[in-house]
């Protein structure tokens, strides 16, 4: 397996449900600490790093004698479950952390708690279903997690209230694609690590590996407030719905078509100057790119752009099929092109980019 896929594997397999990102934090810190000038962890658990720029602080009027401050963001947390109760038979009752599609839960394998206790979610066997029952999607409140515990007491000891559970999916290489869990947003984290490992840029680079995006863009909000950047890029893994459909309709993004740029989603509207910077760079250097279907989903940019007096922002994402399921799929070419596009676009950014005509 090549180095980049190894990094993605380590990130994908690390367990870090929103609020419990410690393991991912450790992988990230290990990967970047030698490549940055400063590193700290803030009150919420975000990893904030700083890499000084090489430019002479600009004398232009907009800059006020400062180097441009660019923020890059990727979130470390993944969706999962939390234990909220124990049945007398030893089953665990759970609630969703972040947005979980209940259709995906029957038949799933989980890792429960810091000891990564294996657990399963099963439902009533088909043989025993009543008329019409097979058509309904079981809701989370009716599902239980089975860790094999034999009593309520044993269940409470092994998985006390508040214990987190994540999908248990192994990362695999499948030729040009790779599969694994939590590509939203370990793919973005991997892209960010790659960017930090490269050469310095002209501007001061502030990167935030954030927490709790899935429960409300929480980490990004405080990180952007602390950093107060001049512009921000959120790096993501996003929906690719390019499977066969009845109608000629948008796939949201498609595998193999390159990094996906967000113009507008439910959380924010991208700054058009940053979008243009990306598309001009891509066209010139013949890097494939696509626009994500506008109006779908939300990302950390939704919080970043609101910091203090406002921060022009944009989101760039690696397309991933089945991003909402325990096993997602992405193309390593798309991953590479995302890193390339970001690196090249960032090397072209100056105070002039943010000027208004």
């Amino acid at each position: 397996m090549i180095l980049k896929a190894l990094l993605l594997k380590a990130l994908s397999e690390a367990v870090g449900v929103s609020g419990d990102e410690g393991s991912v934090r450790a992988v990230v810190i290990e990967a970047v600490r030698e490549h940055v000038d400063e590193l700290k962890v803030d009150a919420l658990g975000n990893v904030l790093v700083f890499k000084r720029g090489t430019d002479e602080p600009s004398a232009s009027p907009e800059s006020g004698g400062q180097r441009l401050r660019v923020m890059l963001d990727a979130h470390m947390d993944e969706i999962g479950l939390m234990v909220v109760g124990h049945d007398s038979d030893g089953f665990l009752r759970v609630r969703a952390v972040g947005g979980i599609d209940p259709r995906l839960l029957p038949g799933t394998l989980l890792q429960v708690g810091p000891e990564r206790i294996p657990g399963v979610i099963g439902v009533k066997p088909i043989h025993l279903l009543e008329e019409g029952e097979g058509q309904k999607v079981p809701q989370l409140k009716d599902l239980v997690v089975d860790i094999g515990a034999a009593s309520k007491d044993e269940a409470s000891k092994l998985a006390p209230l508040g214990t987190y559970a994540a999908f248990a999916t192994q990362f695999r290489e499948i030729g040009p694609t790779v599969s694994g869990k939590a590509f939203d947003d370990r793919a973005g984290c991997a892209v960010l690590v790659e960017l930090l490992k490269g050469d310095r840029f002209g501007f001061d680079l502030h990167a935030a590996f954030t927490v709790q995006e899935e429960v409300g863009l929480r980490g990004a909000r405080v990180a952007a407030y602390a950093i107060a950047p001049d512009c921000a890029f959120a790096l993501e893994g996003t929906i690719a719905d390019d499977i066969p459909k009845d109608k000629d309709a948008s796939p949201t993004t498609a595998l193999g078509k390159g990094p996906a740029i967000t113009v507008m989603d439910r959380s924010f509207i991208a700054d058009r100057r940053l979008v243009r910077l990306l598309t001009d760079t891509a066209r010139e250097l013949k890097i494939p790119y696509q626009f994500k279907q506008p109006g779908i989903g939300g990302t950390d940019a939704g919080a970043l752009h609101l910091a203090r007096q406002g921060v022009p922002s944009v989101t760039v994402a690696v397309p991933c099929r089945y991003i909402h399921s325990p096993v997602a799929l992405l193309s390593m070419d798309d991953f590479e092109n995302t890193v390339q596009l970001m690196r090249q676009a960032l090397s072209r950014i100056t105070w002039r980019t943010l000027r208004r005509n």
Partner: protein
């Protein structure tokens, strides 16, 4: 004021793509400003320094309008879209939209829907710009368009798309024009991205740190057939907002507006809006809080292409704002 209003409502400026409307407003206000700047998200901030001894007051009207954005261009050149801001599919079918470059499209609905009695979903609508294939379609994913409907004056009623909130912008421009003396440090903010996320007002307010803030926006009326009950009526004066879905007006601001209206004999109404909100909801939460309120211009058919206001309400709104600014 009619010409100013006609110019403002007719300019292209959906949320996120406010360049054109900002340029038009800038041309109107630049000669009158003591200071002028465009902040990071694109809001236009005009400062009028007062004589002294007053407060720092922020007046806000949003420049952006609702619209649609291209999500997909199919093989035959038909365009699929999503909404920018609060657009109801009910108001789309048979309408026309215009893109920044002037391209116009017609909104149509799929004939084969399961239930033709229900309001169509956005996925069942499309825009026809007259293209013959995906390749020769002049618009692409991410392009934004606004509704097309020319400005019309009939008696004292003014009708157009984008009264929300170009009428508020017009009120601010006119107030700035007529403002002679004020003890207050006044910021006129023409903000962006209200219809989607209230982002412009929130961030501009952070940069200004006012003592109080007043949003100037439209509000609904309760005087049309079979409408939901609501106290505000067209032509009965600007409305002082008490509360809406997103915020409770600070009693300080609400009482200030009512007091000045009474003293100057400007007609006014009190407004409780049960759906929708304004920039004031965002401004009040900035930093350690800003006492905020809203001066609303009564408007029928909000978020349709034919929004209707009354000229006298508009004139009275300007008068009321001047009263607020000119007194200590």
């Amino acid at each position: 004021m009619r010409e100013l209003i006609r110019k403002l409502v007719g300019t292209h400026g959906p949320s996120g793509v406010e360049d054109q409307i900002r340029a038009v407003i800038r041309a109107e206000v630049e000669p009158l400003a003591d200071e002028l700047r465009v902040d990071p998200l694109g809001s236009l901030v005009v400062r009028k320094r007062g004589g002294g001894g007053g407060q720092r007051i922020l007046l806000d009207a949003h420049m952006d309008e609702i619209g649609v954005m291209v999500t997909y261009v199919d093989e035959k050149g038909f365009v699929r879209f999503t909404r920018i801001g609060g657009v109801n599919p009910l108001n789309c079918v048979g309408g026309r939209v215009a893109f920044a470059d002037g391209t116009v499209g017609v909104i149509a609905v799929e004939e084969k829907r399961e239930d033709t009695k229900k309001v169509p979903r956005f996925e069942q609508l499309y825009i026809d710009v007259g293209a013959t294939s995906g390749d020769d379609c002049p618009v692409g994913v991410g392009d934004a368009a606004v509704f097309v409907r020319p400005f019309l004056a009939q008696g004292t009623r003014l009708i157009s798309k984008a009264m929300d909130d170009r009428i508020g912008c017009a009120v601010l421009v006119e107030t700035l024009r007529r403002l002679e003396h004020t003890p207050h440090d006044v910021y006129f903010v023409f903000s962006v991205q209200e219809e989607t996320t209230l982002s412009g007002a929130r961030t501009s307010t952070y940069g200004i740190e006012p003592d109080l803030a007043i949003a100037v926006d439209v509000t609904g009326t309760g005087d049309t057939p079979e409408c939901r009950p609501m106290a505000v009526k067209l032509g009965q004066g600007p409305a002082v907002k008490v509360q809406d879905r997103g915020m409770i007006a600070h009693p300080l601001v609400r009482d200030l507006l009512v007091r000045r209206a009474k003293e100057a004999n400007v007609p006014y109404q009190l407004e409780v809006l049960e759906y929708g909100t304004t920039n004031a909801a965002a401004m009040q939460l900035v930093r350690a809080g800003v006492p905020s309120g809203c001066l609303s211009i009564p408007c029928r058919y909000i978020h349709t292409p034919s929004e209707m206001v009354d000229e006298e309400d508009v004139e009275h709104s300007v008068q009321l704002l001047l009263e607020v600014l000119q007194a200590a």
